[in-house]
């Protein structure tokens, strides 16, 4: 069995994303939301809330979570899991920062 090697592609620089904010990366399979926390951690998730498909990239980022703008579901950025009483999970995509550049794993898209 072979492990799929990641294929990192450059999607921009860290400063392109506002602190406690998000930007969108358009892909053939829909949008990916790329988040930057107050502590400069970055996360990439499918830009669709598991509840009603709300664009998570438009939510308020707090701690390592984002609150969906449509009905206030709170999604953990690291796991993609819905928090509290809500049940659901968002697909996450590997993302890393190297020399200030944001690298997204294209194989996982």
């Amino acid at each position: 069995m072979t492990v799929m090697e990641p294929f990192w592609i450059d999607i921009g620089k860290l400063e392109d994303i506002p602190v406690r904010g998000a930007r969108v990366v358009k892909t053939a399979r829909g949008c990916i939301a790329v988040f930057r926390t107050a502590g400069d951690e970055v996360f990439a998730l499918n830009d669709r809330c598991p509840h009603k498909g709300g664009p998570l990239s438009q939510g308020i980022v707090h701690g390592r979570s984002v609150t969906c703008p449509l009905h206030n579901w709170v999604i953990a950025l690291d796991t993609g899991e819905a928090q509290g009483a809500d049940k659901g999970r968002v697909r996450t995509v590997p993302l890393k920062v190297e020399a200030g550049r944001l690298l997204l794993d294209a194989k996982a898209l």
């Binding site: 999607i11 602190v19 308020i60």
Partner: protein, 572 residues
């Protein structure tokens, strides 16, 4: 409830009194109606030329017949005399024998055994509604509480009960939270199973009361009923679970400690989370903005998306665009610009709003700056339909066109809108100006409303026509437009300073008292002047069209994607 009706009707009827003047003899007829088992019988007495409604006379308690007589010895014929007196005044009456007695003896087997509630009509305080409904649904025998039934649950047993009992008595399948469809059993189950102790915890685990919040009172009662003395709602409701401080504490401390940014505030006030949550951050951003106009740097990442991108997010992630139409007035040029933008950007829906403006729904986020640039070119600016802010001033045509208009209501509406637009407020502010008391602009259910009269302008406030329906309170009367505008500016500033985030004007007025507001805005002229000055100062920093700024390139990162891999893939 039925007993009350029984006692009340003869009393109302008595007010008409008997009359002595001569009239043709009224027509007397025996009436019958189907009862639960047999017929109900009564007598109708109708004058020759009847007027008004028919008065139904139902005998009071005890074995009293349709004429007001009782086999126990009363022979006053009070109801019969009453009916004759009313007939002489031209009023028709029907007086009946009670079911199970006299002529109506066949209607039920036992006159004293009608002990089920069949319906209830409530007016005013309807908090006993669920209790009556439950008695009705269960077909409960109410014979033991008949005499006190009308007073509601608290007095049903003769002894006042805990109000929480009303909610405790509801069945498990009663829906508590309509927004999220949460039933009582789900909430009580979570309180018991997870050891929940606060409304916030119930919200977090069940979603009950987590959306519009109108069932919060019921959820509190459930906690109280289940936990008894262990339920201890804090005197001060914290803003959210990130802090133990309430809204008013935070506002006070912002001034006392000269806090001028969200990180400073969170550090000084020992926030429990590293950077707050989606509930406290927008509140703090508003409080800092309202406290330090011109000084505080607005934190767009702490604003809800609509205020961050100056448009309203829709269920499919597209946005709606609502330009300001001052006082509801528009022009061919504006309408052409709107029509052109709709076609150019393929905006799917155009709708007239309740606030006399035009809503373009379904615009793509990336197109927003370009849409705004086109609208700006025709003089159209942001309508702030997306904000906790001054929204609209709805008007009627007043003396410009209307034959009943007493003042230039359109002109005043435009003046008010030009003066107050751009202002950020604790919750949205909708206004209206009506040119006469016919009130076609519906000013008396607005946050702030003006009714024009011959002698000037009645300023109203604290109306509601959404989650709650409430008529406005009268703030005061002024004789000219300038004074009307000043008073509204002062009122808005007091609301901006005292209102809690997301608290509409009617809720603020209820919490702090209408008199307190009237005192500061109407009676204390010095105070009004100071409020107005602070409002004008704050307006100086906010009356810049946010659409024009963004059409010009501000916050471009909000509207453009970080990367477009579709294009890259196509290129490969």
């Amino acid at each position: 409830m039925w007993n009350g009706l029984i006692h009340l009707l003869p009393l109302v009827a008595l007010l008409y009194g008997a009359s002595a003047y001569a009239a043709p003899a009224p027509i007397e007829a025996e009436l019958e109606a189907a009862g639960p088992a047999g017929t109900l019988k009564g007598t109708m007495l109708a004058p020759e030329n009847p007027k008004g409604a028919v008065i139904l006379i139902i005998p009071g308690s005890g074995p009293t017949n349709r004429d007001g007589n009782s086999p126990l010895g009363v022979k006053a014929s009070s109801y019969k005399l009453l009916a004759e007196g009313l007939a002489a005044r031209g009023i028709v009456t029907v007086r009946i024998d009670k079911r199970g007695m006299f002529g109506s003896a066949g209607a039920v087997a036992d006159a004293n055994a009608v002990n089920r509630i069949v319906g209830a009509v409530m007016y005013g305080d309807t908090s006993d509604g669920p209790w009556f409904f439950d008695l009705l649904k269960r077909g409960t025998d109410v014979s033991q509480i008949r005499e006190t039934l009308i007073f509601g649950q608290n007095y049903a047993g003769g002894i006042p009960l805990d109000p929480a009992a009303a909610v405790a008595a509801l069945p498990d399948d009663a829906e508590i939270c309509g927004c999220n469809g949460i039933k009582k059993g789900r909430i009580t189950g979570a309180i018991a199973g997870l050891g929940l102790k606060t409304v916030d915890e119930v919200r977090a685990h069940t979603k009950a009361s987590a959306s519009c919040g109108s069932c919060t009172g019921l959820v509190e009662q459930l906690l109280k009923a289940q936990l008894g003395d262990a339920y201890n709602p804090a005197c001060v409701q914290p803003i959210c679970s990130c802090t133990h401080l309430g809204h008013d504490d935070v506002r006070r401390l912002i001034f006392a400690k000269q806090l001028k940014s969200i990180p400073d505030l969170m550090q000084a006030l020992e926030w429990k989370t590293s950077c707050g949550c989606a509930k406290c951050r927008p509140a703090l951003n508003y409080y800092l903005l309202a406290s330090w106009p011109g000084e505080y740097a607005d934190d767009s990442q702490s604003r809800f998306i609509n205020e961050r991108v100056h448009a309203n997010i829709q269920r499919d992630g597209t946005y709606s665009v609502v330009p300001r139409m001052w006082g509801g007035i528009t022009s061919p040029r504006e309408l052409r610009a709107i029509a052109d933008a709709v076609e150019k950007f393929k905006i799917p829906t155009v709708k007239i709003t309740g606030g006399q403006r035009i809503d373009m729904l379904g615009a793509r986020k990336e197109d927003l700056p370009a849409v705004w640039a086109d609208l700006n070119a025709a003089g159209l600016v942001s309508g702030h339909a997306y904000g906790k802010a001054m929204r609209t001033v709805k008007t009627c045509v007043g003396t410009d066109w209307c034959r009943f208009g007493t003042q230039d209501s359109t002109g005043l509406g435009i003046k008010i809108e030009k003066f107050t637009w751009g202002s950020w407020t604790p919750a949205k502010v909708k206004m209206a100006v009506s040119g006469c008391p016919r009130n076609c602009a519906e000013a008396t259910c607005k946050d702030i409303g003006v009714i024009c009269v011959e002698s000037g302008y009645d300023i109203h406030f604290a109306g509601a026509a959404g989650l709650d329906i409430k008529g406005t309170e009268l703030l005061g009367h002024v004789s000219n437009q300038d004074e009307a505008v000043e008073m509204i500016g002062a009122l808005m500033q007091l609301y901006r300073e005292q209102g809690r985030y997301l608290e509409r004007i009617y809720k603020w007025a209820k919490r702090t008292g209408v008199e307190q507001i009237r005192q500061q805005v109407l009676e204390d002229r010095e105070r009004r002047k100071a409020l107005l000055e602070r409002f004008v100062h704050a307006q100086h920093f906010t009356q810049h069209d946010p659409w024009a700024e963004r059409a010009d390139g501000k916050d471009a990162h909000e509207f453009a994607p970080l990367a477009n891999l579709i294009r890259m893939e196509a290129a490969e």
